[in-house]
């Protein structure tokens, strides 16, 4: 009967499309498969949608247009709430537009030049540090999604929960939770549409007008892919963290160059910034701040201001900061 035919076709298509994970508590292998496909989906699919970022009681919405074309990704985010903001990025650079300040900043992306293209598969980086489980299915933005839990094996890092589109494997929603299960940060799509084609015109900055001032933050050359030229050492890190990048760069006018070391365990990230204090004898200000899942710790070492920024518990960020020392010549 005609009424039954579409249902049988739909059911067959769904069975063929969806991996064999039907129940809560899916195996690690199944969770791994979903996460691996999620990592690849964003590199190969074009989409647009409305994204909401929530941190505590603060909620901000933005529009995202993402284009994947021949291995190249480009993306444009436009704020829909609060002051207008626009960000356009590709593998070469990130362009930020701030209409309220009539300014455009272009930050060159140096990673495609420096680091090898062949990085370990995402899941292989973290499966020794986190346990994976599939909690079942849910609905996000009107789409069915797998719910995958990534739970740390030690208390030094946060838990992540991912809602991954069952059809496309795009990430639809993510939570970062603390050890008490409280949600520190949430990002989710309230609407999303896959596109076969996105014209390049939708990926060019629109908010910048005539008369805006453009600034290009071209860093001075002082970089080492392996961090061997870094002038500081971090003597303690959570298990699994390794240095993934090092730069020396002035981040703002009238400020000295900043040593920036970046570390990651494959999921959580940590940055160490060391900047010579303008006033070497200044009274030290220990400063600890928290912004959703991001914690920072700042203090002085030998006339330098050291700041650690990381998506890690505050006590861990502070411990890393306390282990930093200058390299002996």
């Amino acid at each position: 009967m005609r009424a039954q035919f579409p249902t049988r076709v739909f059911a067959a298509a769904l069975v063929l499309q969806v991996p064999l994970v039907g129940q809560a508590g899916g195996s690690i292998k199944e969770a791994r498969g979903i996460i691996d496909r999620m990592s690849e989906a964003r590199k190969s699919l074009s989409f647009e949608g409305i994204l909401v970022y929530q941190r505590g009681k603060n909620l901000h919405s933005m529009r995202i247009i993402h284009k994947a074309d021949g291995g190249r990704e480009r993306e444009r985010l436009t704020s829909l709430s609060g002051p207008a903001r626009e960000l356009v990025r590709d593998e070469r650079q990130t362009t930020c537009v701030f209409p309220d300040n009539r300014a455009v900043m272009v930050i060159k992306n140096r990673f495609s030049e420096i680091f090898p293209a062949a990085l370990p598969k995402p899941i292989e980086q973290i499966e020794n540090l986190y346990s994976f489980s599939v909690l079942g299915k849910d609905r996000v933005a009107g789409r069915e999604a797998w719910v995958v839990r990534i739970q740390p094996k030690d208390p030094d890092r946060y838990e992540h929960k991912l809602w991954i589109d069952a059809a496309s494997y795009l990430l639809l929603k993510s939570h970062i939770l603390d050890a008490q299960g409280e949600t520190l940060e949430e990002v989710l799509f309230t609407s999303i549409k896959l596109r076969d084609f996105i014209p390049d015109s939708l990926l060019t900055p629109k908010l910048a007008e005539e008369g805006y001032t453009w600034y290009r933050n071209e860093p001075p050359g002082n970089q080492a892919a392996d961090g061997s030229s870094a002038k500081w050492t971090v003597n303690w890190l959570p298990d699994g963290f390794a240095m993934r990048g090092y730069e020396e760069q002035a981040l703002a006018p009238s400020r000295p160059a900043v040593d920036h070391m970046f570390f990651s365990d494959g999921l959580a990230t940590l940055s160490v910034f060391v900047e010579k204090s303008a006033v070497p004898d200044a009274d030290a200000v220990e400063d600890q701040t928290s912004l959703g899942a991001v914690n920072t710790y700042t203090w002085m070492i030998d006339g330098h201001q050291v700041t650690v920024v990381g998506e890690l518990p505050a006590v861990i960020v502070r411990r890393v900061a306390g282990s930093i020392a200058g390299k002996e010549d």
Binding site: S39, K43, R55, N58, H60, M62, I64, E75, L77, S79, P83, E86, R89, T94, C96, F98, N101, R102, N109, P122, I126, H160, L162, L171, S174, P220, W236, R244, G245, Q249, A252, P253, S254, R255, H260, F262, S264, G266, L267, S271, F273, A282, D283, A284, V285, E286, D287, Q288, T289, S290, G292, V294, T298, M300, I301, D302, T307, V309, I324, G326
Partner: protein, 194 residues
């Protein structure tokens, strides 16, 4: 742009506010984005005037700032002191457009909502061998004058610095981690949440 708030920021920088006025404006720094932007502009203009900007910035940056300060129209006010200050305020406002790049790095652009820094005095800290702690923050916790220009600027500058660090930190996320949270959603979503 020329309004009471702007004038009060200038007076704060110059140490000309009364104790109660300074306390009120310092409190506004934490709540009012426009006040933070204005104070940030003043500091950057000062750097440009002192030719203290990095060499690799646009070579005409300093001259543009000075030109903007000098060329703005100058309003007739009741006293020479007010007139001089007004010219500076107007020039400062126009020069702000030239200093817009610095504001990108300031907490205003990044839409901070950093928790106010807590000055930790005398708290034990596990340190690795070879490091030493300079000093604690006792002096800042007991200011001699409500208008602690240095502590105010330190707080403001510290938050500006944190925001620039966040941008830089986010630049690495996409390349080295599992493709989870939409990259830069934090940057775009960091807006005035006060």
């Amino acid at each position: 742009m020329i309004d009471d708030k702007f004038e009060r920021c200038s007076a704060l920088i110059d140490g000309e506010l009364s104790e109660s006025e300074a306390a009120t404006l310092i409190a506004d720094l934490g709540r009012d984005k426009s006040v933070r932007e204005t104070v940030g502009r003043f500091y950057l203009i000062g750097d440009a005037v002192r030719n203290a900007v990095p060499e690799h910035w646009r070579p005409d940056f300093v001259s543009n700032v000075m030109k903007a300060v000098e060329e703005e129209p100058f309003w007739l006010l009741s006293s020479p002191e007010s007139q001089a200050k007004k010219k500076w305020l107007v020039g400062g406002a126009i020069a702000a457009s030239v200093c817009a790049f610095a504001l990108f790095m300031s907490r205003a652009e990044q839409g901070q909502v950093w928790r106010k820094p807590t000055l930790i005095a005398g708290q034990a800290m596990q340190m690795s061998e070879g490091t030493r702690r300079i000093s604690s923050a006792q002096t800042q916790s007991t200011p001699q004058h409500p208008l602690q220009t240095r502590s105010t600027s330190a707080t403001f500058a510290g938050e500006s610095r944190l925001n620039s660090y966040l941008v830089k930190h986010n630049q690495y996320l996409d390349n080295f981690t599992v493709q989870g949270v939409a990259p830069y959603a934090r940057v775009v979503g960091y807006q005035g949440g006060r």
